[in-house]
């Protein structure tokens, strides 16, 4: 078990989700083991007695998540309702327990995958592995970040920012990581072998995570080579793609890619529609936040922006489209491939950003950063236009 614990302790730290030594990790098979001794172990052990789970994470998130999560929890009334795609699809909502009481924690975890205890941390669990608990923790942090900045922008426009929120916003802005920047270059195409394609995908995936353009579990990446689309598997971490890339023949002669990313239909259509070979899809935060900023108050599709939007929306020259994960009637595979024609990228409402390239991942990676940084700048421009914001780093 020790190796598994070390792996996840490193992941929490590396991805900025928790500080060194913060995560308490529990795994139960026939016996329960913890990554370290903690006063909370005795209480948390009882969760395993009450819940049909096999793994658990309890940790304070690292800053800036900690302040954001605490603020949202304290002002939530018991449940936080983020409206980003990940929460809508997988988490639904985020319950809060206002104290560390076993009863109230169990009540929340019986219904949802996580519970936030303000001032103390987040508890998440898995039923098949620690990876589930880790992914949920990461998603909670992402959802709260997006919600805080998104709500702030909306409320400042409507004059609803109080001093507490303004102070927190100012503090968070100071604590924001610097905007992503990349001066090197990625493997250059055209690629002359399958091995090069695998290497190029892995390299681009790794850099996307390193630059915090996606939380590692989500996002996807593909490259089309010799009539086969090589695409990251569903639920794979973009910073660890070795062995997790599916070859998908374009003629459909094999279903091996049944384990490919949920966005395979969109990738295939993009290749077909644009002739581009490299596709990168990340979840950079300010692109997601800005995609949810809409001034149209009276809209026939209000509340359904993730499924359908009657307007053409842009950030600069980047279209913002509706679309849900996968291939349903409102799937982003119906909107992104058309919108991305002749554009450097497309933002999907509340979800993430797609970019493409013809030869390799240099252009899509560069555009991913460029668009995200433009969105970040634009976000603060919009905030500044109301005269309240501090300067971003």
């Amino acid at each position: 078990m020790d190796q598994i614990f070390r792996t996840y302790e490193d992941k929490f730290l590396k991805n900025g989700l928790a500080d060194l030594g913060a995560p308490l990790l529990g795994l139960l098979d026939a016996r329960l083991s913890w990554n370290r001794n903690d006063i909370a172990c005795a209480e948390l052990e009882r969760l395993f007695e009450h819940l049909n789970i096999n793994s658990l994470v309890f940790s304070q998130p690292a800053e800036p998540y900690r302040s954001i999560v605490d603020y949202l929890a304290e002002t939530s009334g018991g449940i936080i309702f983020p409206s980003d795609c990940e929460t809508r699809t997988f988490l639904h909502d985020l319950p809060v327990s206002f104290d560390f009481s076993l009863e109230s924690i169990i009540l929340a975890l019986k219904e949802r995958k996580s519970v936030i205890i303000p001032g103390q941390g987040i508890i998440t669990y898995g039923t098949v592995s620690l990876e589930q608990a880790y992914v949920t923790f990461s998603s909670v942090c992402f959802a709260c970040f997006v919600k805080f900045f998104s709500d702030y922008l909306y409320d400042i426009k409507h004059g609803k920012i109080n001093n507490r929120r303004q102070n927190l916003f100012d503090l968070l802005v100071k604590r924001l990581e610097p905007a992503p920047c990349f001066k090197g270059s990625l493997m250059e195409g055209p690629f002359d072998s399958e091995i090069s394609v695998y290497q190029a995908i892995q390299e681009a995936g790794m850099l996307t995570v390193e630059h915090r353009l996606v939380d590692s579990y989500f996002g996807n990446i593909s490259f089309c080579y010799n009539d086969t689309l090589y695409i990251s598997q569903t639920g794979s971490s973009l910073d660890n793609l070795q062995g997790f890339i599916d070859p998908c023949p374009l003629d459909g002669s094999s279903c091996t890619a049944i384990t490919a990313s949920s966005e395979l239909p969109a990738h295939l259509k993009i290749v077909k529609n644009t002739g581009n070979k490299a596709i990168l899809h990340g979840h950079p935060r300010f692109s997601v936040i800005l995609s949810m900023d809409c001034d149209i108050e009276k809209c026939e599709c209000k509340g359904q922006c993730h499924m359908k939007c009657p307007y053409e929306r842009f950030v600069g020259d980047i279209p913002i489209v509706s679309g849900e994960v996968g291939s349903g009637p409102y799937g982003l595979c119906n909107t992104v491939p058309e919108a991305i024609k002749g554009r450097p990228g497309v933002i999907v409402y509340g979800h993430g950003l797609f970019t493409t390239g013809q030869r390799d991942f240099n252009q899509p990676f560069e555009n991913l950063i460029k668009i995200e940084n433009h969105c970040r700048e634009e976000y603060f421009n919009r905030v500044r236009s109301f005269g309240r914001a501090g300067h971003q780093p």
């Binding site: 049909n52 459909g252 890619a257 049944i258 490919a260 849900e324 349903g328």
Partner: protein, 582 residues
């Protein structure tokens, strides 16, 4: 109550009587429906021999059936298995479950034995026992055609009448209650068919909440590559798994002597689609529509059938696979057991079966003639009679499905602990070991798998009891289905409350098996999986399973399931779960 009808029908074939009784709401809450509720009623008679007239044949639906709950048009058929002697059940689709609810019933319990071959016809609250002597020996397709207009139909074929131990019940022509030899139970009671038709509506507690919960599940299904993706089962049928099993080098080949089929690319779902251009079809009320049927109503084989009638028999003739599938359906035989028995025969007789031989042997089995008479006893009995017990690839007497356990260790443990013998569906670890849902687990490790398998078994017991399709749980979870359950029934519940019910249902089944003498010796795999590799090329090696690691995982499973060290139920645990200790 909302969701349930609160009524079950008892039919006694010996004296040709029937009655409808009210079910205690507390029992419904404790066992839900489908497999859980059928198990509750079966337990009282489980020590009877399977063909004792007092042994019930149970057909049960769940509270979600006949509502707009996603993938809920299923039901469970249960009795004591003629093949294994364990609990014997099959979850089956079509529209029988829905019609049963429309007829105002949560389930039917059939006991006794008719003097002559009979049918049972249910129309709303009324039941009629009919003379079916003219249908003796008739194939299922013929009987289905004849009964068209009488609603949904469950029919046995000549195989059941002729005593084939892996006989099935065919529902609505294309849906098989295949496993455990369940078809032999109605045959032993002299029942050829059951039809049901109704007009009742199921009362829903909160339609608005149901709509919201449905949307959550549809959203997850749309995000699932396995269900609705480009290469998912909605487009290609369950055969979509074929390429993946081959790519992961865990496709049972040549009676499990190998795990890679060299001609797999010629026999995959794409090849079937290209040759037959089938259309989408499926169970009542399901939006996934994983069943594939051609214009002339020929059903495409499911994944297990495709795999076993090709790789397991080293057969690369597509047409013969389709014919084998059709014959099994017409004769009323389980395709998995039939193919595995032929593979066992092929190995013992050291004879590769040609496509035509496969087809003619299936007919011989169904008609109980020639060598078919012996093969109709199933792989385990056939191998034993031939002095080669070790060559039957079965657990507790039930032939193994198309996932080689050497390629997925959770699957190995799940095969062993399954309460109905060699079955992939009880814990369904393929979901995480191969399909990466909800997240991927290490398929070549037993670490942590004891609890994971226990949780999987509990989950699928709930799915079979609601009743919902297991496939939807590749995308959704009990978190979403708890909302559906509450919206339909008005009973406040949670994912974890439902898990607890699943645990009760599984423990009840362990108790039934223990009552019939099943012990840890039966929770085991054939020696081949511990002694022989499946595939070796240095890139992906499919090695023999480490026996010690397997036994350790099994022992851990017993601890997690709160059984004793020998895998036997413990009275205190049973009481804690609200089960009677007899």
């Amino acid at each position: 109550m909302y969701g349930w009808c609160e009524k079950i029908a008892r039919i006694n074939l010996s004296d040709q009587t029937w009655s409808v009784e009210t079910v205690d709401p507390e029992i419904l809450k404790k066992f839900i429906g489908g497999r859980g509720l059928a198990g509750y009623y079966l337990r009282k008679r489980i020590t009877h021999h399977w063909d004792d007239p007092d042994m019930p044949l149970l057909i049960f639906t769940g509270p979600l059936v006949n509502t707009r709950s996603p993938t809920s048009g299923r039901m469970t058929i249960m009795s004591r298995s003629p093949l294994t002697g364990t609990v014997g059940d099959s979850s089956v689709g079509g529209s029988f479950g829905t019609e049963l609810k429309k007829a105002g019933l949560d389930g039917i319990i059939i006991t006794g034995k008719s003097h002559t071959l009979a049918g049972i016809e249910i129309l709303n609250g009324s039941i009629r026992i009919t003379d079916a002597r003219h249908l003796a020996g008739r194939q299922t397709g013929y009987v289905h055609s004849l009964l068209k207009g009488k609603g949904s139909r469950a029919v046995i074929g000549p195989a059941a009448e002729n005593g084939v131990v892996f006989s099935s019940i065919i529902v609505d022509r294309h849906f098989a209650a295949g496993r455990c030899g369940i078809g032999r139970v109605p045959a032993s009671k002299n029942i050829k068919y059951i039809t049901v038709k109704g007009t009742c509506k199921t009362k829903i507690f909160n339609a608005l909440d149901l709509k919201g919960a449905r949307e959550d599940i549809f959203r997850l299904a749309a995000a699932s590559p396995v269900l609705l993706g480009e290469f998912g089962i909605s487009r290609f049928g369950t055969g979509a798994l074929y390429d993946l099993m081959d790519a992961r080098r865990m496709m049972p080949t040549d009676n499990f002597r190998k795990t890679k089929f060299s001609r797999a690319s010629l026999m995959n779902a794409h090849a079937f689609k290209k040759k037959y251009a089938p259309k989408k079809s499926g169970c009542r009320g399901c939006h996934i529509l994983c069943k594939k049927i051609t214009k002339n109503r020929t059903p495409m084989p499911e994944f297990e059938t495709m795999s076993h009638f090709s790789a397991l028999l080293e057969n690369s003739d597509i047409q013969s696979v389709v014919r084998a599938n059709r014959i099994c359906n017409e004769m009323g035989m389980d395709t998995i057991s039939a193919a595995a028995t032929l593979a066992c025969f092929s190995e013992i007789s050291q004879k590769r079966l040609a496509p035509d031989e496969i087809v003619s042997l299936l007919v011989d089995i169904g008609k109980k003639r020639g060598v078919g008479r012996d093969l109709g006893r199933g792989a385990a009995a056939y191998a034993k009679r031939s002095g080669h017990s070790d060559l039957a690839m079965a657990v507790k007497g039930q032939e193994l499905p198309a996932y080689d356990p050497r390629g997925a260790y959770g699957m190995a443990l799940a095969y062993a602990t399954s309460t109905r013998g060699g079955c992939h569906l009880r814990a369904y670890p393929i979901s995480h070991e191969i399909l990466r849902k909800p997240v991927a687990t290490d398929r070549f490790s037993f670490k942590g798998k004891a609890r994971v398998i226990k949780i999987g078994e509990d989950l699928n017991a709930v799915a079979d009891s609601l009743t919902a399709c297991k496939f939807i749980f590749f995308a959704a979870s009990l978190e979403e289905y708890a909302k559906i359950y509450t919206a339909v029934t008005g009973i406040k519940t949670s994912a974890q409350d439902l898990f607890k019910t699943g645990e009760r249902i599984c423990y009840n089944e362990r108790m039934m098996n223990a009552a019939n003498g099943f012990t840890e010796k039966d929770d085991d795999l054939p020696d081949r999986f511990f002694n022989s590799p499946g595939y070796k090329n240095g890139n992906i090696d499919i090695d023999p399973i480490d026996r010690e690691a397997f036994l350790k995982a099994r022992s851990d499973y017993y601890a997690v399931r709160k059984l004793d060290k020998k895998g036997m139920p413990v009275p205190d645990t049973a009481r804690t779960l609200g089960l009677d200790v007899l």
